[in-house]
């Protein structure tokens, strides 16, 4: 493993994705700000915008950094350099993940601060937000896995659509669950066992998806 080459590849891709990454971070933070505006509909609009920005960031970054290399035929250039498949895979999967995590984490951190700072906000909603953001991260990891395995825009979009449908069902489940729905209006932050169990399941899905993504990528025989 050539750590210097991995670092160079990582920084190159981070640089190439700087504008979409920055754009989604700004868009995400603005969405969070919208949730703080007075009125129930502002909160709803901000919430929808946040989910939209996160989903758009995921598919855009996977398309630009991963699928785009195959479509734009830049991978042949990269793989002609003294870079092994392991170096390439580590750098590529890490940078796609980090590029997504920057707006994702920016939004979640901002929301966390708001729940404690804004007087009207209820800190009890934080577990719900963590569950939602981890769910969207899990969906992103599954899209990443699909993109790596199939190298197909079509299949990645299929997984994206399935993820969105599942997200609606997941939100419905959270709202209807007595222990979780009760938290949303609570002034006190608490983490009931059901929340921790769902977080554990989400974490396992994320880890498995990332592990499989990496495993499939390094077992690839033909790179172009």
């Amino acid at each position: 493993m050539n750590t210097q080459a991995i670092q160079i590849l990582f920084l190159k891709d981070l640089f190439l994705s700087r504008w979409p990454m920055f754009g989604y971070l700004v868009g995400g933070l603005l969405s969070v700000m919208v949730t703080c505006l007075p009125g129930e509909s502002a909160g709803f609009v901000g919430f929808i915008l946040m989910i939209t920005v996160t989903i758009a960031a995921g598919i855009h970054l996977i398309g630009a950094l991963l699928l785009g290399e195959s479509i734009d035929m830049t991978r042949t250039f990269i793989m002609s350099l003294p870079i092994s498949l392991l170096d390439y895979s580590l750098a590529k999967i890490s940078v796609v993940l980090v590029a997504f995590l920057i707006p994702w984490f920016g939004m979640l951190a901002c929301l966390t601060i708001i729940t404690f700072v804004v007087p009207e906000a209820k800190p009890g909603i934080l577990p719900f937000l963590v569950l939602l953001f981890l769910f969207m991260l899990g969906g992103f990891c599954l899209q990443l896995f699909t993109a790596v395995v199939t190298e197909s825009v079509g299949w990645t979009i299929v997984v994206l659509v399935l993820g969105n449908v599942t997200l609606n069902l997941f939100l419905k489940m959270l709202y209807e669950h007595p222990a979780i729905s009760k938290l949303n209006k609570s002034e006190v932050l608490s983490w009931p066992p059901v929340v921790l169990q769902i977080i554990a399941i989400e974490a396992i899905v994320i880890l498995i998806a990332l592990g499989l993504t990496f495993m499939f990528q390094i077992r690839r025989k033909d790179l172009v």
């Binding site: 035929m73 830049t74 250039f77 002609s80 003294p82 092994s84 690839r220 025989k221 790179l223 172009v224």
Partner: protein, 307 residues
Amino acid sequence: MNTTLDRPQQNTSAASLRGVTKSYKHFRLDNIDLEIEPGTVNGLIGPNGAGKSTIMRIMMGLVTPESGTVSVLGKSISSREASAKQDIGFFSDDMRLYKSESIAFHMQFVRSLFPSWDEGYAQQLLDRFGLIAQQKVKGLSHGQRVKALLLLILARRPKLLILDEPTNGLDPVAKQEVLAELMQIVNDETRTILYSSHNTQDVEQISDTITFIDRGRVIASNNRDEFLDRWRRFKLQAPQNWQAPAIDGLRPESTFGNLRVMTMDRYQTDVEDRLQSSGATLESSEAMTLEEIFIAAVSRGREEKQS
């Protein structure tokens, strides 16, 4: 480059492929043996879809063969091994740079991976190729894009250049500029070039040795001058019932009434006399161009495969 079916392993070769096989749905690279001597310019000629690009990609570790061994600059090649690529410059016709970035961005990126990067030479190449470092890749013409890629390859001073159809689609002026640069590299006897094209004139211009490939098989491989010396075309007037003498390497090419056209790939000076004494009248004995040799060799190779 020579076929090496019966040759012992040589550690001194710039690159060596032995028994390399790779199958796709509609194409098979079949038991390829190639030996590339250091300090030589090797032309790989074949029609589109012959397997030239696949051979080169296998040599770069971009494609994994199903069987056989590949060694480049004394190191085994695989997608898991990157060190050999430090001294190889690879160009492919379908290789692209990042559209939104400038040539300077790519120069800086490649420089960060190659301690051997020669900035002075890179600047010379920028001037010689008429490129502007700050220009974005999306604004480059096809010829400028090829030159930019060659700059990125040449400025790191690789020991082995693997060039897959570098002159494809270039206008005559750009093609000459690229070939002239390659000719300069050829003067450095420590550097080896493997150059593929379906244009025999380009390959003939710079190659020491030439390999013909067709439908995934090496059909002939030899020194360029020997190719030109050994191949001949004869035009004969001969009666309908004339039987061609049994001369090794002599094959009929075409017949127009009594006019027989024959080609030969093992020419010796007594062949004309033997043809005359067989009852035919020799109208001409001509040296063949590399393109004619290539077409004849492909035709023979396909006939042999069918039989």
